[in-house]
């Protein structure tokens, strides 16, 4: 009699939970296919022959794998040069971003100077200014300085601080106890020494985040090179890829092959430093720290 009183198996909480989890799992799995299929399509197209790309209905797996597409496309334009240029700009910008923004963030987080709070509000409000508003005058300024067709307009601004990175690093530094700094002050250290010997080592995770975001930003930047770089030999990958399309027109196997190559470093960076990507977004939104 007692067993009859027990709820039927599909009424138990355990069953309902399991059912819910299974449904969510299936939905997520279906979504994953949607999210990944464009990337699969890109790789698949990059390995097809032009005839197979034009064929209808399209194939999902190439009938023959034309790895030579990559070599041929790479040779069609000075991609090696462009890749070196991009690495150079991105690494310079990265160095500037890490050093300068941490210095500025340290001041806003730990040095009690006059006008600090008011100035920090100014930092935050610059994040709300659309970049396009200052673009024309910046171009005029850099062209009067004779910096057009050099990397200076792409690198120097990285050494002048970015509101987003300052905010991100400041949030992180605020969580470091003041006692550490006060103790160092009592020991006679000045702020430059404290920043270098105490703050930089302690904020390493946040600094790596800034480094990655900055590298990523420079790598994907089209607008800057488009504005300031004229010589083909000085092109970055983004602008190079853009002009490459003019060269190969609708030869999608070449275009996709080079697109894969340009995205590859970013994807690798993401898989190696996933944690930092995710933490960076969270600190910046103020949900942490």
């Amino acid at each position: 009699m007692r067993t009859a009183a027990a709820p039927k198996f599909y009424e138990t909480k355990k069953f309902k939970d399991n059912l819910k989890q299974t449904i969510i799992f299936i939905v997520l799995l279906a979504g994953s296919v949607l999210v990944l299929s464009p990337l699969w399509w890109m790789i698949s197209t990059s390995l097809k022959s032009p005839a197979e790309i034009a064929q209808y209905p399209p194939t999902f797996v190439p009938k023959e794998f034309h790895f030579s597409n990559y070599v041929e496309a790479w040779k069609t334009a000075p991609f090696t040069r462009w890749a070196m240029n991009t690495f150079f700009i991105a690494l310079c910008g990265m160095a500037g971003s890490v050093l300068v923004n941490s210095l500025v963030a340290y001041a806003f987080a730990k040095i009690r100077f006059k006008g600090r709070n008011a100035l920090f509000i100014v930092v935050l409000s610059t994040m709300l200014i659309p970049g396009f508003v200052t673009m024309v005058p910046q171009y005029i300024l850099f062209s009067k300085l004779g910096w057009v067709n050099t990397y200076l307009p792409l690198i120097v601004p990285a050494f002048l601080g970015s509101a987003f990175f300052i905010f991100l690093l400041r949030q992180f530094m605020m969580s470091i106890p003041n006692e550490l700094i006060e103790a160092a002050v009592l020991d006679g250290a000045n702020h430059l020494q404290i920043w270098w010997h105490i703050m930089l080592p302690l904020t390493k995770p946040a600094l790596i985040t800034v480094a990655i975001f900055s590298f990523n930003g420079a790598w994907n930047d089209l607008l800057g090179p488009l504005l300031y770089i004229n010589d083909e030999s000085l092109y970055t990958l983004q602008i190079g890829l853009q002009t490459f399309k003019g060269t190969v027109q609708t030869q999608w196997h070449y275009l996709m092959a080079m697109s894969v190559m340009v995205l590859l470093p970013v994807v690798l960076l993401f898989f190696f430093f996933q944690k930092h990507f995710i933490e960076g977004s969270n600190i910046a939104s103020g949900t942490k720290g």
């Binding site: 464009p38 210095l103 990507f277």
Partner: protein
């Protein structure tokens, strides 16, 4: 316990000793803080004056002139602004295109990101893998991604229309049909909705489980819990996301530039966005004065919207503990 007391005592004595020293140098301590503070932030100050405030003021001034980078600046009053609304038909097109894009992309990406984050906040096997996977498109950007979508949206052999054909829908010509170019961009944006998802996920994990348990006891359903607990609790992040993505959406440029043959504006000028039109004026015909006027109008529109957003935000954003920071 004892050793703890003695450390405190020793520290106290040390402090008293220091206090005597520092009282003589109290002024110099504050001065030192000021000097170091301003020294440390000086790069930002230079950047702010040279690359933000200076340019802002310069473009305000230039917007009342016919400056074209080589000419002298002739003051022409409000002519640039009059030209936008009376002579320049493309201006209205670009404004309309941009508003269309903002109006659809902000709610769609916000809702999409919230929906995804709620799904990814469940306890399901392989969740870590799913989160990584859904976030991946958000880090991919630039010309390569735009090329990829041009290929995906290809009317006859693209993946999107192939997929639509499977389920019995004849796909549109996307980037070749003025009616469908902007939905095409929206589709592309939805692909990388994982970036916003991450923000919401972090926020959802901060919502206390006891709130849901209390609601369960009261017999609340899934939808009720979502609308009366989840949404209010993550509303500060929604606010932040809507604010920044609105500003971002107004600046759409690269997508249109790359996907429409060097900024031509696409079929029927349907992808001629505000910034693309401004870019063409500034760097194709070097009409810097007119471009500056356009820039300032954009600046004012975005500022007004931001202020409205902030005022409205006070009404619907719920801050735990009631501190309105």
């Amino acid at each position: 316990m004892k050793s703890y007391d003695t450390t405190i005592a020793r520290r106290g004595a040390g402090l008293a000793e220091k206090k005597e020293k520092t009282s003589r140098r109290r002024m110099s301590r504050q001065t030192r803080e000021n000097i170091f503070g301003y020294l440390f932030i000086s790069p930002w100050i230079i950047g702010f004056l040279g690359l933000t405030l200076g340019p802002l003021l310069f473009s305000l001034f230039a917007s009342f002139t016919d400056y074209n980078i080589t000419s002298r600046m002739n003051f022409i009053g409000l002519d640039n602004f009059k030209r936008m609304f009376t002579i320049d038909d493309l201006f209205k097109t670009s404004l309309w295109n941009t508003l269309y894009y903002v109006l659809f992309s902000v709610p769609l990406t916000t809702a999409g990101a919230i929906f995804l984050s709620v799904l990814l906040n469940q306890k399901v096997r392989g969740m870590k893998f799913f989160r990584t996977l859904y976030y991946l498109p958000a880090i991919l950007s630039g010309v390569a991604v735009y090329f990829l979508w041009m290929q995906l949206l290809s009317p006859s052999t693209g993946l999107v229309n192939t997929f639509l054909a499977w389920i019995g829908i004849e796909g549109p010509a996307w980037l070749f049909d003025p009616e469908w170019t902007k939905p095409a961009l929206l589709l592309m944006k939805m692909w990388s909705v994982g970036g916003g998802m991450l923000l919401y996920l972090a926020s959802l994990q901060g919502v206390s489980a006891s709130l849901y348990e209390a609601a369960d006891l009261d017999g609340a359903g899934v939808m009720q819990k979502f609308f009366y607990i989840t949404l209010p609790m993550i509303s500060p992040i929604i606010f932040f996301d809507v604010l920044t993505s609105t500003i971002g959406a107004f600046q759409i440029f690269q997508e249109a530039y790359v996907m429409t043959e060097n900024g031509s504006g696409g079929p029927g000028n349907s992808l001629l966005f505000y910034n693309l039109h401004m870019w063409n004026n500034a760097f194709e015909v070097f009409d810097m004065g007119y471009a500056s006027a356009m820039a300032w109008l954009l600046f004012i529109v975005v500022m007004v919207l931001t202020i409205i957003n902030m005022k409205l935000g006070k009404k619907w954003v719920h801050y735990e503990g009631g501190d309105n920071k």
